[in-house]
């Protein structure tokens, strides 16, 4: 379960998030949509504890991440897999080591188990041939798939995906959403997916939250979204672009 209670985030006098509240029950997937700069990425960073709200509370299961110190946050973050909008891949190691990175650092598994998991995950994202390549040699789509593999190599019960298909062609986009669905199904993961791919979100998510200038203006079932009275949301679904 993920829950935000009246979260407000202010930077340089600007309210980037204003009284944001919503929750995602365990096992559900939430589509977080909105125009650029509406605060979607900030919400994901708040859930992961990478930034702290100025007021309000953020919960991941029973843990109030907005109140935990960095050491205690580590335990929560091990249950989260985060896909970054701009990949955030480590440029000092190759693709295989990027994916293996969290497992090697945590030291819970043997080297053989880690290698097996990495190989399996890379084959799922169709990147077995790229294991020894440096990330700088990859295309945008390949980087996204590596990012997805790294974020999910530890089978996290919570997935946060920040625009996992930004700038990708339709075929790769479909492939990534299919992967997301498969990985979610394997772990019955709770997920928040930020994307502008309306059709893909419609199939992948149970609920939708629309952010506008840092405020929640719609929170409801995906099936109700297209018929919403809120014109901004209907425009989003009809045009397939952010209002």
């Amino acid at each position: 379960m993920i829950r935000l209670d009246s979260v407000t985030l202010v930077r340089d006098g600007i309210r980037l998030l204003d009284d944001v509240s919503f929750s995602v029950p365990t096992g559900q997937a939430l589509a977080l949509i909105g125009a650029g700069g509406s605060g979607k990425s900030l919400v994901l960073k708040l859930v992961c504890g990478l930034i702290r709200p100025d007021s309000g509370r953020v919960f991941v299961d029973e843990d109030e991440v907005s109140a935990l110190d960095e050491v205690r946050l580590m335990a929560v973050r091990r249950r989260i897999g985060m896909v970054f909008q701009n990949y955030a891949l480590f440029d000092f190691v190759d693709v295989g080591e990027n994916v293996a990175f969290p497992l090697r650092q945590w030291g819970d598994l043997s080297a053989a188990e880690i290698d097996a998991r990495v190989e399996r995950r890379l084959s799922q994202v169709n990147l077995t041939d790229a294991t020894r390549k440096l990330t700088s040699a990859l295309s945008g789509g390949m980087k996204k798939r590596v990012c997805l593999a790294r974020a999910t190599v530890h089978d996290p019960p919570i997935m946060l995906c920040d625009d996992p298909t930004a700038g990708l062609d339709p075929v790769t986009t479909n492939r990534i959403f299919a992967l997301l669905a498969q990985l979610r199904a394997e772990n019955t993961a709770t997920a928040i997916i930020v994307s502008h791919e309306v059709e893909a979100l419609r199939q992948a998510c149970d609920r939708v939250v629309l952010l506008e200038r840092g405020r929640v203006v719609f929170d409801g079932a995906m099936s109700d979204a297209a018929q919403s009275e809120y014109t901004g949301l209907r425009a989003f679904f009809e045009a397939g672009v952010a209002p």
């Binding site: 990478l50 580590m74 091990r78 985060m82 970054f84 440029d91 000092f92 969290p102 650092q105 945590w106």
Partner: protein, 256 residues
């Protein structure tokens, strides 16, 4: 007048903020060092990059530092025909002062700047956030290996630099002043004590610590994109150089 006062005040506040942030950062690093979980691969990688790759530039600097020390004393040595003190004058000035100071400044320009650039690039490309999201403490994974490597390697390079400075000093005194290398060596071993050597080593370790903390702090505290990276590198080099001179003054005063 009021503009000048306002600017002075703003400068003082900015300086206080920087020193305060650096002190907080140092506290975080010290706390992490109490329960060190060093990544072996990253530590070895840093030791190599910081130490082995800096050797040529340090050796060159040290040879010329030794030569300069002899050139500076040369006129008086010839005037007073005090050839038997050349080794002492060289050892005292280079081992205690010029050696660690010049190696420290070179180390700051090469290693500190590089470190600040690398960490700030990782910060603006969200690699540091990715580490945190993967439940890996950037202080433990990135900063501790760098601090350890820079302290160890700055100290080692200062010792190696002393040997190269000796070569530069002996060669110059022989070529310019006609001092036999054995006379130089005897003067050096007779008058230069272990305390002089230790003095320089302590300074080198302190400079290494300062450069590592300053460059890591400015690297991780970066804001903005490429412009921020440039500013971080610039601030790191300037602050490292200032810390080197301030530390040098206090260590010299304490160990006098």
């Amino acid at each position: 007048m009021s503009d000048a006062v306002a600017r002075l005040g703003a400068g003082a506040i900015a300086l206080a903020e920087t020193v305060g942030a650096l002190a907080l950062f140092t506290t975080r690093v010290a706390r992490a060092a109490l329960r060190p979980r060093l990544d072996r691969f990253e530590t070895w990688r840093m030791l190599y990059r910081v130490g082995v790759e800096s050797l040529p530039i340090v050796a060159t600097t040290a040879i010329f530092a030794g030569a300069i020390a002899v050139v500076q004393t040369g006129a008086n040595v010839v005037k007073f025909r005090a050839y038997e003190v050349v080794g002492w004058a060289f050892g005292f000035s280079v081992f205690r002062e010029i050696g660690p100071l010049l190696v420290g400044l070179m180390f700051s320009g090469r290693v500190g700047a590089n470190n600040a650039a690398q960490l700030s690039t990782m910060q603006v490309t969200e690699q540091v956030d990715a580490l945190r999201a993967l439940a890996i403490d950037p202080i433990e994974y990135l900063v501790l290996p760098r601090v350890l490597s820079m302290v160890l390697m700055m100290t080692t390079l200062a010792v190696i630099g002393n040997a190269f400075a000796m070569v530069g000093g002996i060669a110059t005194s022989w070529a310019m002043l006609g001092v036999d290398p054995w006379v130089f060596w005897n003067s050096f071993t007779e008058y230069v004590t272990l305390t002089d050597f230790a003095n320089g080593v302590i300074k080198a370790a302190a400079f290494g610590l300062a450069i590592s903390l300053v460059s890591c702090h400015f690297g991780l505290a970066v804001r903005g994109g490429a412009l921020g990276v440039g500013r971080a590198v610039n601030s790191s080099v300037v602050a490292s150089a200032i810390s080197i001179f301030v530390l040098d003054y206090f260590i010299t005063w304490i160990l006098k």
